[in-house]
């Protein structure tokens, strides 16, 4: 960086001589005492190199042709093409389009970033309810099934699993289930591998909907449960009656059981019914319950077989009565052990899901898109855009600084090189 030179007034005599130079070059008379300087100026002017006629002709030809770079000057020709293109756009008034193009670009980028960040199309976590919820509601509209607006408690009977019979089991369930001959194969609590562990899951889901969508969402829960072969253990729906002015705020709660193999899909469908406020997933390792029940079953089965053999060999009635009494006890215990095993299997197979739905006026509506929603979305888009711009600027800043440093360094280096070239020019 060159320091700015301080402007100092020239000495009056120097100024006078410089003026004399200019007057002499302009052909004007000068003071007698400065005639020497004037003569020198005229002689220097006479030394002025003049272009030859050929040079003048060549330069005029270049001027007539718009100063096109020579064929050998590739860089000049490339930059000429670029500047011609830019000048052409300017001539067509393209500069006036720059604000509009800039605004359009900012709008597109902001919309893209905003939509991407708001999760509008990711099917669940926040934002407006997706289209699948709309479809679900449309299907529900024609159904007779409804839930009473007043506080009610419905209980549904769980599919029964007989204690001694074969329990219902999906492939996933079988894969997790410890083998029935766990005791004989040496399976013990401390030796269960991770793949053989029985894990019981549970999910709590809290949804909010616009007041107008509350009833449809509550109905939708039942459809989702039915579609995924689950059942409703209990449900409670209150308020939210769209036909009653000033009705209490709608709230619904459901205790569901969903087959483990359907859980993921069912949760996706349930999440589509409204705005997901919270979701909690829990797991519980119940392998110990399985192992314990199986060990008891194996031991009691062996005891029963032994008692049956003893009963066949009993010689007296007294002995037979005693064995039968013990046999009844063993069979009761065996039935209880089978029952425990079945309950453990059911716990793994059927996942408890708690769903709460609250009607909230501030919740994003899956129905009509209001001007309030527009302001809300616009605010989100602007916030996200500003954040993206800030992050982008932070990422680009080091590169921009580096580019500025390189440019400044390059200019300084070039200036020094030119200065050296001038100083080294021959006399």
């Amino acid at each position: 960086m060159r320091l700015r030179e301080r402007e100092m007034p020239l000495d009056s005599e120097i100024e006078r001589e410089l003026e004399a130079l200019d007057r002499a070059l302009a052909g004007a008379p000068v003071d007698r005492d400065l005639e020497g300087i004037a003569e020198l100026a005229r002689e220097l002017r006479a030394e002025r190199p003049q272009p030859s006629a050929e040079a003048e002709e060549a330069l005029d030809g270049l001027a007539a042709g718009g100063f096109s770079p020579r064929p050998s000057d590739r860089l000049g020709r490339a930059s000429r093409r670029a500047s011609d293109a830019i000048n052409g756009l300017r001539a067509r008034g393209a500069r006036r389009l720059i604000p509009a193009l800039g605004a359009a670009t900012v709008f597109l980028v902001a919309a893209g970033v905003g939509i991407s960040a708001s999760g509008l199309f990711d099917g669940g976590q926040g934002g407006v309810a997706p289209q699948s919820a709309q479809n679900s509601k449309a299907e529900l509209a024609g159904k007779a099934q409804s839930i009473k607006p007043s506080a009610t408690t419905d209980s549904a009977t769980a599919p029964s699993v007989s204690a001694g019979g074969a329990p219902p089991a999906t492939d996933q369930f079988r894969a997790k289930l410890p083998p029935a001959s766990g005791a004989r194969s040496g399976l013990a609590l401390g030796t269960v591998s991770n793949s053989d562990r029985a894990v019981a899951r549970n999910v709590d889901l809290e949804l909010s909907t616009a007041p107008d969508d509350f009833r449809d969402a509550a109905d939708g829960v039942l459809d989702v449960v039915r579609d995924h072969r689950g059942f409703v253990l209990s449900s409670h729906v209150s308020g939210g009656d769209p036909g009653v002015k000033g009705a209490e705020r709608g709230h619904a709660s459901f205790e569901l059981r969903i087959p483990a193999g359907e859980l993921s899909a069912a949760m996706g469908d349930l999440s589509d019914l409204g705005h997901v406020v919270s979701r909690t997933d829990g797991t519980l390792d119940i392998t110990k319950r399985f192992v314990s029940a199986r060990q008891r079953i194996d031991a009691l089965t062996a005891a029963r077989d032994r008692l049956l053999r003893e009963l066949g060999e009993a010689a007296t009635i007294q002995e037979q009565r005693s064995i039968r009494a013990r046999l009844r006890i063993v069979e009761r215990r065996l039935a209880a052990a089978h029952h425990d095993l079945a309950r453990a299997q059911q716990r793994v197979h059927l996942v408890p899901v708690s769903v709460g739905i609250t009607a909230d006026e501030h919740s994003a509506s899956g129905g009509a898109w209001t001007i309030g929603d527009a302001f809300h979305d616009a605010g989100r888009v602007l916030t996200v855009t500003a954040g993206a711009a800030l992050v982008g600027a932070a990422a680009l800043l080091p590169f921009a600084l580096l580019a500025v440093l390189v440019a400044v360094g390059w200019r300084g280096w070039l200036r020094r090189q030119r200065s050296r070239a001038l100083d080294a020019s021959p006399g």
Partner: protein
């Protein structure tokens, strides 16, 4: 630029093109004289002058009147082109300067005039390169002191001081030769 509705803009020379044409007509010989004075090579001076006009035409819309006159801007471009030519020559180590053209002095001008001109040329040759550049800018190209200051990147006062110092050196050299 305001456009008329009666004719397409492409058919009319733009304002910047018209101004550039005027600049070319006013400065062609001056620019050549300055570059030739700097390079002391007529053939190279023709090339560099053409190159300077090409570059200036390409950048004609970047001219900023707040930073000086159009002529000063043009001569700044020419100066860079000429110095780049000097750099190129230095790299190629072909410092072939044109010999003084003694034939340019007409015989009818007489011996005294010839002697004076020879002395003056010798005095110019004895100057430092930066001072010779001042001669070229002031007396060959006819730039004003403020334009010279803008071209070489100093203040106007500094340019005047340098000019005066150079004139004094020339006068002394000429007097000594006489």
């Amino acid at each position: 630029m305001e456009e008329t509705l009666t004719a397409p803009a492409a058919e009319l020379p733009s304002e910047s093109e018209a101004e550039f044409e005027q600049l070319y007509r006013r400065s062609r010989d001056d620019l050549y004289a300055y570059v030739a004075g700097l390079l002391r090579d007529r053939a190279a001076a023709e090339d560099v002058t053409a190159l300077a006009f090409e570059r200036a035409y390409r950048r004609r819309r970047s001219f900023n009147p707040k930073r000086g006159t159009r002529r000063a801007w043009l001569f700044g471009i020419a100066r860079n082109a000429a110095l780049d030519e000097l750099r190129r020559r230095r790299r190629q180590a072909t410092l072939a300067t044109e010999p003084v053209d003694d034939a340019a002095i007409a015989p009818e001008q007489g011996a005294e005039v010839a002697l004076r001109r020879a002395a003056l040329r010798g005095a110019i040759a004895s100057l430092a390169p930066r001072e010779r550049e001042l001669v070229a800018l002031k007396f060959f190209a006819g730039l004003t002191n403020s334009e010279i200051a803008a071209v070489i990147g100093v203040s106007e006062t500094n340019a005047g001081t340098r000019l005066h110092r150079m004139i004094e050196k020339l006068r002394r050299a000429c007097d000594e030769a006489a």
